[in-house]
């Protein structure tokens, strides 16, 4: 095949003012966002926030929405045959076709997309997800985790440019979860753009380039993971002293955000984006303690997880206008 010119658009997916109503309920409420080629995008939100509905609008599972969805410049409603060829979906709900084997399911799924897969190609895909020995088993007899992995295989048979993973690790054991995320990263390195939703926020924190937070149908934030961490997150340094002088030290260093954790324990709060080594607040505290001749027994550090940030954003959304967010 002749080499084609690389796709030049800034975004692969453009969601413009999408609203999906069910009666009076707006499951997705005026959402606009873009997904960039090659990124891993984590869409986070509590149950019923509208994640699956929004994914449905992009993948074609849901029609009759207001606004527009474009994939690689093609309209997801008008040019649905092209856009659906580009997209793969691992749905949240477990499904299986009780009439067929795992291999047959993949053969059919590829066929629907106009792709003829050889037996070797199917076996290779099954093998990547540790399903090869179940290739000829009726899908009814697969365990929950196996069914989930088969669903991922089905979403990959046509080698999509954009893969939606809606809670792909639900019911999958820890080892396989790690393997799956390694596979997702490898897939992205080979040129597949990934959009995922997950309840395991540490996974999103590890993998995602950007994060979108959705609640009650509204997209509250879309930002680089690091940017969110910097804005909403914080870092802390805990110090254990050799004497019960924590209150006095805190009193003497009023300019620092010090929290007394115990008679000999202090916590210094600092901004998340700054590295501990270069943080002037940390340096100031340490220098002060050394100069005052205090004995330092232990220093440890930590920072807010994406989960805490996620809660913070949701709490701000819940809080009435002008009120303080719940910390």
């Amino acid at each position: 095949m002749a080499k084609v010119k690389p796709y030049a658009g800034e975004t692969l997916v453009d969601v413009v003012g999408v609203t999906k109503r069910y009666g009076d309920l707006r499951a997705v409420d005026d959402v606009s966002m873009g997904i960039r080629p090659g990124e891993i995008f984590a869409l986070l939100g509590p149950n019923g926030a509208g994640k699956t509905t929004l994914i449905g609008c992009v993948t074609g599972l849901i029609t009759g929405f207001e606004g527009a969805v474009k994939i690689a410049g093609f309209d997801a409603v008008e040019d649905y045959q092209i856009t659906r060829r580009l997209v793969g979906l691992v749905p949240q709900e477990l499904n299986y076709d009780a009439f067929f084997t795992a291999r047959q399911c993949l053969e059919f799924q590829a066929g629907y997309f106009g792709v003829k897969m050889s037996r070797e190609e199917i076996d290779e895909l099954l093998d990547q997800f540790s399903l090869l020995e179940k290739a000829d088993a009726n899908t009814r007899w697969l365990s929950g985790g196996m069914k989930r992995r088969l669903m991922i295989c089905k979403a990959l048979v046509h080698d999509p440019v954009l893969l939606f993973l809606d809670e792909p690790t639900a019911g999958v054991d820890v080892d396989l979860r790690d393997e799956l995320w390694e596979y997702v990263e490898a897939l992205r390195d080979r040129g597949t753009t990934i959009v995922l939703t997950t309840h395991y926020l540490e996974e999103a924190e590890k993998l995602a380039d950007r994060v979108g937070i959705i609640n009650r149908g509204r997209l509250l934030r879309v930002d680089a993971r690091e940017a969110l961490m910097e804005e909403f997150g914080h870092r802390h340094v805990d110090v254990r002293l050799g004497a019960p002088v924590a209150s006095r030290v805190a009193e003497e260093n009023r300019g620092l955000r010090l929290e007394v954790l115990g008679e000999d324990r202090l916590r210094l709060h600092t901004r998340s984006g700054e590295e501990v080594e270069g943080d002037p607040a940390v340096q100031r505290l340490m220098k002060g303690l050394v100069e005052a001749g205090e004995e330092i027994l232990e220093v440890s550090g930590g920072r807010s997880s994406l989960e805490e940030i996620f809660r913070k954003v949701l709490n701000e959304d819940r809080a009435p206008e002008g009120a303080e967010g719940v910390p």
Binding site: V4, F74, L86, Y112, A224
Partner: protein
């Protein structure tokens, strides 16, 4: 330095290349998609052929034995045709109508219940391809069962091949119409009761009262006139004309009715798929 949140440069470059390449061939293999769905639907009922093909054939042949040979001796002939021969088209249609409906309705409804419909809804299959594959498989099953009953009846001594093309035309059009109805009901239905409602309370009664076992000439007034409002009567009699050369109603009326039914129910099914009603909500 890449901005925060940007994917690795190499991944973005690979993605841009992949998008361009797949977009350039995104419309390839469309026919394979429809063929695959049709093929899968055929395999689906064939894998359980004992239940989906053999069982309805045996049940129908029991009717043939019981009615044809026990009642046949008393009735002798209807409209100059031996009762055993007269019965063949009725029984063919009895099984054909039920199985055309059941195949498309249950297959689509089960995939809705099991959630596997999602695997189809995200594919590039056009709405017409989707519909065609489902109804074509249903028509194949119905014709297979109808055909076996027809052939077995002939092997058992019935003579029913007056005008084979006419008989086949009515069989195909009837199977198609009920396959469309099956798709419509499967889309609109929300539980198994909805799927069973139509065959139990409408299709089976209409079929039994549609001249499967008798000629409406044998009915007293006003039932012979009332029977003329039963669409299944026209289907059974069209096939009966093709098989044994007699009919209670003009054959052309049956053709017009069936074409009309196919246009209406095919149209409704396509409209439902097009709008996504009940499927893509």
């Amino acid at each position: 330095m890449r901005p925060a949140g940007a994917p690795p440069e190499s991944a973005e470059a690979a993605a841009r290349q992949k998008i361009a390449e797949l977009t350039a061939r995104a419309d390839e293999g469309r026919l394979l998609g429809a063929w695959t769905l049709f093929h899968k639907e055929i395999l689906r009922f064939w894998r359980i052929a004992g239940q989906t093909v053999v069982s309805p054939v045996i049940t129908t042949m029991l009717y043939f034995l019981v009615f044809g040979y026990s009642l046949g001796d008393r009735l002798q002939t209807i409209q100059g045709v031996p009762y055993v021969d007269f019965l063949v088209p009725g029984l063919v249609m009895l099984a054909l109508i039920a199985n055309a409906y059941i195949n498309s309705a249950f297959s689509l409804f089960i995939s809705k219940i099991h959630g596997t419909i999602v695997d189809l809804l995200v594919t590039p299959l056009s709405y017409l391809q989707f519909l065609t594959a489902f109804v074509a498989a249903a028509v194949v099953r119905a014709m297979l069962i109808g055909g076996i009953i027809w052939v077995v009846a002939m092997l058992m001594g019935a003579s029913a091949w007056h005008n084979v093309p006419i008989a086949l035309l009515f069989m195909v059009l009837t199977a198609l119409a009920f396959a469309f109805i099956g798709v419509v009901i499967a889309i609109l239905g929300e539980d198994f009761d909805h799927i069973n409602l139509l065959p139990n309370f409408l299709i089976t009664p209409l079929t039994f009262l549609g001249g499967v076992f008798y000629s409406i000439e044998m009915l007293p007034e006003p039932w012979d006139t009332v029977s003329l409002f039963n669409p299944v009567l026209y289907m059974v009699n069209g096939v009966r004309y093709g098989m044994v050369g007699v009919t209670d109603v003009p054959v052309w009326q049956g053709v017009v009715l069936l074409v009309g039914m196919n246009v209406v129910f095919g149209g409704v099914a396509l409209w439902l798929l097009w709008t996504g009603r009940k499927l893509r909500e």
